[in-house]
């Protein structure tokens, strides 16, 4: 019994991880991608702004990271789509007091947030594509 109670913290997180946290995942990937892009650019431009080779490498590196971020967001989007399970019952409102509706609602919200995050990652990647120097 005592052991059971000790694991309470772990279990609570596990339950939440399955659910409410899901809606923050896609946006978190956007945030991490954003911070990595900003941090890398700030660092490279502060230390090697006169060296075009380093900047090119940085742009390629960030490009790869952007593609990875898009893949990760797509994966979250796909998982949320499965959780939403729209094509099963075409439920869009999720306004009933049922476990299923709660489950599908979180999938739906998370799916929409994945779409936003996907667009956000593309937006933030554009400067890497177009700007060839720090200035």
């Amino acid at each position: 019994m005592a052991k059971n109670r000790e694991n309470e913290e772990v279990r609570t997180f596990a339950e939440e991880a399955d659910s409410l946290w899901l809606i923050t995942f896609a946006c978190s990937i956007w945030a991490i991608h954003f911070v990595v892009c900003y941090g890398a650019a700030a660092f490279v431009c502060a230390k090697w702004s006169s060296n075009p080779a380093v900047i090119t490498n940085m742009r390629v590196g960030l490009g790869i990271i952007s593609v990875l971020a898009l893949c990760a967001v797509s994966y979250i989007g796909w998982r949320s789509w499965v959780q939403w399970d729209f094509l099963d019952d075409y439920d869009y409102e999720h306004d009933l007091a049922k476990e299923e509706h709660r489950h599908e609602f979180l999938g739906h919200a998370s799916f929409l947030l994945s779409v936003i995050s996907f667009i956000g990652v593309i937006y933030v990647s554009l400067p890497i594509l177009f700007l060839e120097t720090c200035q």
């Binding site: 339950e15 431009c45 609602f105 937006y123 400067p127």
Partner: protein, 859 residues
């Protein structure tokens, strides 16, 4: 079998009767029982009378004080704006001196943001949220009261400084070196006074998040939660990540002002840009922290006006959460002209454009709801319509300003002033007034005048455009912000005169509104109970007013229970639902699970108290005395504040109940005591520490910032932190943490004596660790005033040891609890919370020691 097992089993047998069946709800309760239970409940929730009234902690009292105080500060800041407009009405005016003008615009911005916009959100949420959730009160009522008193004291201190002509005068963003070098106490008043209020804001955020997650009525699953709840959740989360960087910035700034540690002084390796980053990492999300809760009001008003459920509930959740995240990627758009690399500016332009998408989506959802509904235009909707119009215009100039090349043209001109007032009036002021009109019958059981409301609307709406529309042009014509006067040859005269006229029309509008808000309505009959035929729970309120919040806590199966759940109000009134009685005379509310809102605990909440006011006064002293460099009284105040808080916690939080479980109604038997993640307190600590870690992360960011931005951040030949002391210190803290975790486990197994001894070991190692950590820096020969490198090391050390010292007090509290029977194997909430605190602290200690001990050697 331990007591806790019994708790669990009795509660699980209780769950068998949950959810309640229609038959159970149908059962009649006889009149006499109804009256008897109502009397007992009324007595438990009675608001103190006479002078004791001020000891009240109930959300309905604290919320009213809070909102009226915030409103008062708004009016003060508004008067400052009017005086500035008088000064600017004609060229070369000498109505105000340059210094007074500087103080006025600084205080106008600071007060509107810190003393009005954010506190107003907290105030309205404290007032409305429990009712929306059918809850009795907020989970930590004394914390709300403490937050309010802190806000009042801090607000009067900061606002009052203007009467003595010593107010801060470097702009609401306090840029160094102007603000660090500013003479007088103005900058210190800003830093310490507002830090004090920020602490209160974080307290409110913690309470609101826990309220939304844990205090929903049974059955209100996360997909049925009122949209207001979603917004509060998002905004609470944003406060936790946005305010701490500013607190960290304030900490560094005040260390520079008071002790000359050169964080922002380029001559000694510092960098003023760090302040700008920390300020705007707070400052931009702040704009959305202000906007989202106000637009949340629109999300409540619109379905009522359209008489149908909101269109696109999931889309609005997307909007709130998405805006919350994206708003953290915008801060540099306030710093486009600081010479950052263009590629960096590009990222922020991109994110600033992206945030328009979620922000726009919710507005479209509102419009769609109105289009498909049967709209009955009322006063709140009139203001919402005005808000949408103004906000959209402000949003469009926002899209323009987010483009770096455009921003370079109009940076620091009146164009920006126009833009920000359009967004804040449209995004905050108008929806807020709509909310006040909408909820007024709920707050006071009376109604405001429709005629005066319309007059005020047209004055505000037209006045606003007359004042701020010309400013776009003034700005494009080149008039800079924050100048106290201008020559007449530049063609700005007539535009400024028009703006001034507009400002006075706005002021008249506010006067009409204020008169209507505050005029006595004693003779007016009570309002109908649900005057707009709304669907959400707050309109089940009692008329005349009752302090209990909700006669009985309902079982919810719909987003709009008052529309969809037949007889719900009648059954609530009859006490047919949960917690209809208070046989022990205690204030209680239900705690439910995060996702599905299954009832899990009857939580006892605290009642009226003076100790919260004492704690706030002494906390105020600890912040206010250092402004004048009076350190001894500040330290005494700090100690007394800690003493008050300890007394408050010891006497009233997580008391051991007289029985293990109680009948919550409808056959549900729930535990009264909970510890660990099942308890609200644990969530409070978790959320607070999340905010605290953000502040710590900001300090660490500072270290890396200096390393990136400065050529010789670790000057060659510098001393290092003493490794031996540091390693021993970290090991001591590791022992602290391990023994604490061990003590918690042993205590639960019933070995209370061993657990207590382990806690003592834990405390001793905390003392040792703290001392070693201090010595590793103090004895290293690093002189914090000499250069930014030793200064940031000292700052990280001070931050860490303050936290371990607080951890020591917590350990002492647990030892006392174990000694005096407050901490037992079944009642270990305090120990769980302290362990959680130390989980965070051990991470802080490890990161801090790596950054100050290892990194400088590697770099």
């Amino acid at each position: 079998m331990t007591q806790s097992t019994q708790n669990r089993e009795s509660s699980s047998s209780g769950v068998a009767t949950y959810p309640p069946t229609e038959q159970m709800l149908e059962e009649k309760i006889d009149k006499r029982t109804q009256e008897k239970t109502a009397d007992r409940l009324r007595k438990a929730w009675e608001t103190p009378k006479g002078w004791r009234y001020w000891s009240a902690v109930n959300n309905s009292e604290v919320g009213v004080w809070y909102s009226l105080t915030a409103f008062f500060f708004m009016m003060c800041a508004g008067v400052l704006a009017l005086l500035m407009r008088v000064q600017l009405a004609v060229p070369e005016n000498d109505f105000l001196s340059a210094d007074t003008f500087n103080q006025f615009f600084t205080m106008h911005g600071s007060a509107m943001m810190f003393l009005f916009a954010v506190p107003m959100f907290e105030a309205i949420s404290i007032l409305v949220l429990p009712a929306l959730l059918g809850a009795r009160d907020m989970p930590f009522p004394r914390l709300s009261a403490y937050g309010y008193w802190c806000f009042l004291i801090g607000g009067i201190f900061v606002m009052g400084s203007i009467l003595f002509g010593v107010a801060p005068n470097s702009g609401w963003f306090m840029y160094p070196p102007l603000a660090t070098k500013a003479e007088g106490v103005g900058s210190d008043i800003w830093l310490l006074g507002l830090s004090f209020i920020e602490v209160a804001s974080i307290a409110a955020a913690v309470e609101l998040i826990v309220g939304v997650l844990k205090c929903r009525p049974p059955g209100m699953r996360i997909n049925l939660m009122p949209l207001y709840g979603w917004y509060v959740l998002v905004v609470g989360g944003m406060i936790l990540f946005a305010f701490p960087p500013l607190i960290a910035g304030d900490f560094l700034f005040e260390l520079e002002r008071s002790f000359d540690w050169p964080f922002f002084d380029p001559e000694r390796g510092g960098d003023p840009m760090l302040w700008q980053h920390l300020f705007w990492i707070f400052g931009h999300p702040e704009v959305y922290i202000v906007f989202l809760p106000s637009i949340a009001i629109a999300a409540m008003v619109v379905p009522t006006v359209a008489q149908r459920p909101i269109v696109g509930y999931s889309w609005i959740v997307l909007s709130a959460v998405g805006t919350g995240f994206l708003s953290f990627g915008l801060w540099v758009h306030h710093m486009f002209t600081t010479g950052l690399p263009s590629i960096s500016l590009g990222f922020f332009t991109a994110a600033s454009e992206a945030v328009v998408i979620p922000t726009g989506i919710q507005l479209f959802a509102f419009v769609a709801t109105l289009m498909v509904g049967r709209v009955k235009l009322n006063l709140p909707m009139l203001y919402i319509a005005g808000a949408l119009a103004i906000f959209t215009a402000g949003g469009l100039t926002g899209v323009m300003l987010a483009l770096a090349p455009f921003d370079w043209q109009v940076h620091d001109t009146y164009f920006v002033v126009a833009h920000l007032h359009y967004t804040l009036f449209g995004g905050m002021v108008f929806p807020l007034i709509a909310g006040i009109y909408y909820f007024y019958p709920f707050f006071t059981k009376k109604q405001m005048s429709v005629r005066l409301g319309k007059i005020a609307f047209w004055l505000l709406f037209t006045g606003f455009h007359i004042a701020f529309l010309p400013m776009h042009l003034t700005g494009l014509m080149g008039m800079p912000r924050r100048v106290y006067t201008y020559p007449s040859t530049l063609g700005w005269d007539w535009l400024n005169m028009i703006s001034t006229v507009g400002a006075f029309i706005v002021a008249v509008g506010f006067l009409v509104f204020t008169y209507d808000l505050l005029r006595p309505k004693g003779k007016q009959p009570y309002t109908p109970r649900n005057p707009y035929n709304a669907g959400t729970l707050e309109w089940s309120h009692n008329i005349p007013d009752e302090a209990w919040g909700s006669r009985s806590i309902p079982y919810i199966t719909s987003r709009y229970p008052l529309w969809d759940q037949e007889k719900i109000v009648e059954r609530m009134d009859a006490g047919r639902y949960y917690l209809a009685d208070a046989p022990e005379g205690k204030r209680e509310t239900l705690i439910t699970t995060v996702l599905d809102a299954k009832p899990i605990q009857v939580m006892r909440v605290t009642g009226p108290a003076w100790i919260t006011i004492c704690a706030a006064i002494f906390t105020g002293g600890a912040f206010i005395f250092p402004t004048f460099h009076w350190y001894p009284p500040a330290i005494v105040s700090g100690i007394l504040a800690i003493a008050c808080v300890l007394y408050w916690l010891w006497t009233s939080t997580a008391p051991i109940p007289e029985q293990k479980t109680k009948d919550a109604g409808l056959g549900l038997n729930l535990p009264i005591y909970a510890s660990g993640p099942a308890s609200a307190g644990w969530w409070g600590v978790w959320i607070t520490m999340l905010g605290d870690s953000t502040a710590f992360a900001s300090l660490i960011f500072g270290f890396f910032f200096y390393w990136t931005a400065k050529e010789n951040f670790v000057p060659s030949g510098s001393d290092f932190v003493l490794a031996s002391y540091l390693v021993l210190g970290v090991l001591s803290f590791a022992v602290t943490w391990a023994t604490l975790v061990g003590a918690r486990a042993l205590n639960r197994r019933g070995s209370t004596k061993t657990a207590r001894n382990l806690l003592l070991v834990s405390a001793l190692f905390t003392i040792a660790g703290t001392a070693l950590f201090c010595l590793s820096v103090v004895n290293s020969g690093l002189e914090p005033t000499s250069h930014v490198y030793p200064a940031i090391i000292w700052a990280i050390m001070v931050w860490t040891v303050v936290h371990t010292a607080v951890g020591l007090i917590m350990l002492g509290y647990c030892i006392a609890g174990a000694t005096f029977g407050k901490l037992t194997p079944e009642h270990d909430a305090d120990l769980c919370n302290v362990t959680l605190y130390w989980h965070f602290i051990i991470i802080t200690v490890v990161v801090a020691s790596l950054v100050i001990g290892l990194l400088p050697r590697l770099l």
